[in-house]
Amino acid sequence: MSEHGEVNLDELYREVVLDHHRHPRGRHPLPRVDARAHGFNPVCGDEVELAVALDGERIAGVEIQGHGCAICTASGSMMAELVPGRSVGEAEAQVETFRSVMHGGTWPTGSDPGDLEALEGVKHFPVRVKCALLPWVTLRDALRAWRQGHAQAETTSEEEGAP
């Protein structure tokens, strides 16, 4: 959006994104919760309640509630599809990869971003980047809290344009 010319809204709201937004995955309560985090974007009011069930070092399931814009909702929904089955380390790596893509990077060769690829266009809308990232940084913080023996973490999506 920094260029003053026309922008393509379809880059932001790809069909896959709108579909996740309309039918978000991961809304079902988990039978057991091992880690939790609450994510909040004070700028726009997006809120994410995240619960993670673990099977040893492996993520068994993710539940995501809260309310947010289409980008935030879709990103959380994609996460609920993508991370179950991965190890905690793999999930953390995926958070970092997605972050770097949102901040202008590209997907590493060989990586399989799945539906998340459809969010790549968000990087051209800097103020929306934190919407896409909120579920993911909340996941990172839930896992970090779990590693440290806490059951709950508080997350705030980074301030846009922070120094």
């Binding site: 959006m1 809204l9 932001l12 004070p42 726009c44 009011g45 947010g68 919407c131």
Partner: protein, 421 residues
């Protein structure tokens, strides 16, 4: 000079718009339709010229110099103080303190007048306050054990004055209320509230950040003790705000900041204060922006605040009507444009305000989406955020039409059907 005649009964916003250079820029290939005026307004060419004139002809530090530039800069700086006093009907310019913004003005009262409060005392606020008129009091409550009370709002976004009357008591030491809500648009009956507050001996602080730019506000007639507002929301530069206070009260208050300008005598371990207003203005002030601000006051005085208000009521009425015609939008605040300031907060139950704002932006339409620094009010309204269109003297019906057109597009995009075509 911008208006057809002094105190004209109406003006042409399109003619005015031509004096705001930024309005001729495009955004994503579209004409900029700036509807985020409650956050900050755009600046007329006269303010920019005044800024340039200050720096190219009289820039110097004020109050301390013997040379010509210092004398001229001081005179221009103090002229602004008198102009501001006149603009808001403050009888004594010594009661006008220059701050960075309305927020600093409110904090100054909360900290300095707040020193007089202690456990058992109460501060009475409302549910519709901006964070800038909530957080300073929350800080005071933490520091001094003061209790906070809040006047609730009704479902039309108006203060419940019956409950206000019940909450007032001799324990109420301060009543701090916004003259106009930046989310609901509600114009509060501040004069009436101030009178009731005075009867219980409370000091009345008015957050005028939204009201002063858009309504005739008369400090003396309001009967309040303190009034805070920001220049940048009234066509002036950023970095300048005002606390207007009753001199008798200001004289009783301690300054928060020490340094140059605010002192009378300084020894290594002793200092005494200058007179008001100087004792509250430590260090070099924002001289240039203060001097340039007179050009914004010129503009508003030339148009006349009555005409400004009429224009905004008219435009808000039109916006309410057009938005209602879309069908299915939630519109917050009083239904009647004459009871509200020139802004409309709304939400589409099926499209998050953030998505709305992004789509509107691709149409060149700038609106705000979020909590508008009023998280408690969002909670009261039961929404995470709203979208807000706010108007200024240069907005016209075409801008509202662009907004409505953008909203239609957003709905089509998200596959949301409205009631109307």
């Amino acid at each position: 000079m911008l208006a057809p005649s002094p105190q004209a009964s109406s003006f042409d916003p399109k003619v005015l718009a031509a004096h705001f250079p930024i309005l001729s820029r495009t955004v994503h290939g579209r004409r900029l339709v700036y509807l985020d005026n409650a956050a900050t307004t755009q600046k007329p060419d006269t303010v920019l010229a005044a800024l340039a004139r200050y720096y190219t002809t009289l820039n110097a530090n004020v109050h301390r110099g013997v040379h010509t530039l210092a004398e001229e800069a001081t005179a221009a700086f103090e002229f602004t103080r008198r102009r501001v006093a006149r603009f808001v009907g403050a009888p004594d310019p010594r009661g006008v303190i220059m701050t960075r913004n309305a927020t600093e003005a409110l904090n100054l009262v909360a900290r300095s007048w707040g020193e007089r409060l202690s456990v058992g005392d109460e501060v009475l606020l409302t549910e519709m306050e901006h964070h800038s008129n909530l957080v300073p009091w929350i800080m005071l409550a933490r520091q001094r054990g003061v209790a906070l009370r809040h006047v609730p709002i009704d479902d039309n976004g108006r203060l419940n004055l019956r409950v206000f009357a019940q909450l007032l008591s001799p324990r109420t030491r301060i009543v701090a209320v916004t003259a106009m809500s930046n989310v609901l648009g509600t114009i509060n009956p501040v004069a009436e509230m101030a009178e009731a507050a005075r009867r219980v001996g409370a000091v009345v602080v008015v957050d005028g950040a939204q009201a002063v730019p858009h309504l005739q506000v008369d400090f003396a007639a309001l009967g309040c003790d303190f009034l805070a507002f920001s220049a940048h929301k009234m066509y002036g530069p950023t970095g300048l705000g005002f606390l207007v206070g009753r001199p008798e009260l200001l004289e009783m208050m301690q300054p928060l900041y020490g340094g140059g300008e605010m002192i009378r005598e300084v020894r290594l371990d002793y200092a005494s204060w200058n007179d008001i207003p100087y004792k509250f203005e430590a260090g070099t002030p924002n001289i240039a922006d203060a001097v340039a601000f007179t050009a914004a006051l010129d503009l508003l005085e030339e148009l006349g605040m009555d005409a400004v208000r009429r224009h905004e009521v008219e435009l808000t009425g039109y916006a309410l009507e057009r938005l209602a015609s879309l069908g299915g939008l939630e519109i917050h605040g009083p239904r009647d444009a004459s009871e509200r300031g020139g802004l409309v907060s709304f939400a589409d139950p099926q499209i998050h305000p953030h998505d709305l704002a992004t789509i509107l932006d691709t149409h060149g339409v700038a609106v705000r989406a979020g909590h508008h620094c009023a998280q408690p009010l969002m909670r009261r309204l039961g929404v995470p955020a709203t979208a807000r269109a706010s108007f200024a003297i240069y907005n016209h019906r075409d801008d509202v039409d662009a907004l409505v057109e953008g909203l239609r597009h957003a709905r089509a995009y998200f596959g949301v059907g409205g009631a109307a075509s």
